[in-house]
C-alpha cells in the first residue's frame, strides 16, 4: 500500500532530496549513449563550445532528477505517471564533481473531472548545486491516485 496519495500533497509544500555526486564518468557515459555531442563527451572539444568546458547533457540532468524523485518520494506514492512536462529550462551547466540536490515545490493540485479515482499535482522541480544555484528547472503535473477512492474499492 502506498504511503502518499493525492490528498497528501499540499500546495506550497517544499522538500529537498539528495545530495547526489555527479561524476565525469557518468556524464560522458550518458552522453555517449544518448546525446553524443562534443560538449558532453570531451574536455578539449567542450572548451571551444559555448558551455566553456565539459557539462552534462541537459537530458542527463532531467534523468538524474527523475531518479532522485523516484527514490525520494514517488516510489512511496500512488503515482500513476505523468501526462508530460510543461517546461524544462537548462539555466547553468552541470559540471563533473557537482553534488546536486533536487528541491520540489507543490504548485497546485486539482481533482480530475473525468476520472474520479485520481487527481493532478503540479510540481516545480529545481536542480541545485552546492551553492544553491539553480541549474535546471522542470515543471510537470503528475497523476496521483486518491486515497478516498482506494479505500472505497
Amino acid at each position: 500500500m502506498p504511503k502518499l496519495f493525492w490528498e497528501d500533497f499540499q500546495p506550497d509544500a517544499v522538500a529537498v532530496y539528495g545530495p547526489r555526486l555527479v561524476t565525469r564518468e557518468e556524464i560522458v557515459a550518458f552522453a555517449a549513449e544518448f546525446d553524443p555531442q562534443p560538449m558532453h563527451l570531451d574536455e578539449a572539444a567542450a572548451a571551444g563550445t559555448i558551455l566553456g568546458g565539459l557539462g552534462a547533457s541537459g537530458w542527463h540532468t532531467c534523468c538524474l532528477l527523475m531518479r532522485m524523485i523516484a527514490e525520494g518520494f514517488l516510489n512511496e506514492s500512488a503515482s500513476m505517471g505523468a501526462p508530460g512536462v510543461d517546461e524544462v529550462r537548462w539555466l547553468k551547466p552541470l559540471r563533473p564533481g557537482t553534488q546536486i540536490r533536487v528541491r520540489t515545490t507543490v504548485l497546485d493540485k486539482r481533482a480530475s473531472a473525468s476520472r474520479p479515482e485520481l487527481g493532478f499535482v503540479k510540481m516545480l522541480y529545481e536542480v541545485l548545486d552546492e551553492q544553491d544555484a539553480v541549474l535546471t528547472t522542470l515543471m510537470s503535473s503528475m497523476m496521483m491516485a486518491r486515497r478516498d477512492r482506494e479505500a472505497a474499492r
Partner: protein
C-alpha cells in the same frame, strides 16, 4: 547543421525508428526511472497500465539519440559536398512535452521534427533561434510523444 538562413519554417527532419524491448525498457528505468510499472512486469500488470511500459524519459532519449545521429550524417554529407556546416546549440530547454500514449514492449516509434519558428537572437547576434516540434508515432500510427524545443543555430551571414 544547415545555417540559420537555409532553414525554413515547415522543414521536416526524419530521424528513423527505435524499438522498445522488455530488456531495454527495464535497463533504462533501473538507472533513471525506477517506478514499478517500468521495471517489474508483475507490478506493471497490476498497475493501471496493465503491462510493462517504457519510461517517458526513455521515449524522449531514443528521439534525442536518433536526432544527434541524423545531424551527424547530415553534417558529414554537407562536408563531402564542400558546404559549410553551421554550429548548433546550446538548447535552452524544451516545453510542452506530452506523453500521449503508453509505449509497450514491442512498440516501434518513428521520430521526426518540423521547424515551427525561426527568429534572430538579441543576445547572440551570430546565431538565430530555431524552434521545432518533434513527434514519435508508433506502429499503429498513433502519436506517443510530442515536444517543442528551441536551440541556437549559427548564421551564415554574421553581423559586423
Amino acid at each position: 547543421m544547415k545555417y540559420f538562413e537555409d532553414i525554413q519554417v515547415g522543414d521536416v527532419f526524419e530521424y528513423g525508428r527505435y524499438t522498445f524491448t522488455a530488456d531495454n525498457i527495464k535497463a533504462f528505468a533501473i538507472r533513471f526511472d525506477p517506478q514499478p510499472f517500468h521495471v517489474d512486469e508483475a507490478a506493471a500488470e497490476r498497475s493501471h497500465f496493465g503491462a510493462l511500459v517504457a519510461s517517458g524519459w526513455h521515449t524522449a532519449l531514443a528521439w534525442m539519440r536518433l536526432m544527434i545521429d541524423h545531424r551527424r550524417r547530415m553534417d558529414d554529407a554537407m562536408r563531402e559536398r564542400g558546404e559549410g556546416v553551421a554550429g548548433i546549440g546550446p538548447a535552452l530547454g524544451f516545453r510542452d512535452l506530452k506523453w500521449l500514449k503508453p509505449v509497450y514492449v514491442g512498440d516501434t516509434i518513428d521520430y521526426k521534427s518540423e521547424v515551427t519558428e525561426m527568429r534572430l537572437s538579441n543576445s547572440r547576434p551570430h546565431a538565430g533561434l530555431m524552434t521545432f516540434r518533434s513527434t514519435g508515432v508508433n506502429q499503429h500510427g498513433e502519436p506517443v510523444i510530442s515536444l517543442v524545443s528551441t536551440t541556437f543555430v549559427e548564421r551564415r551571414v554574421k553581423p559586423p
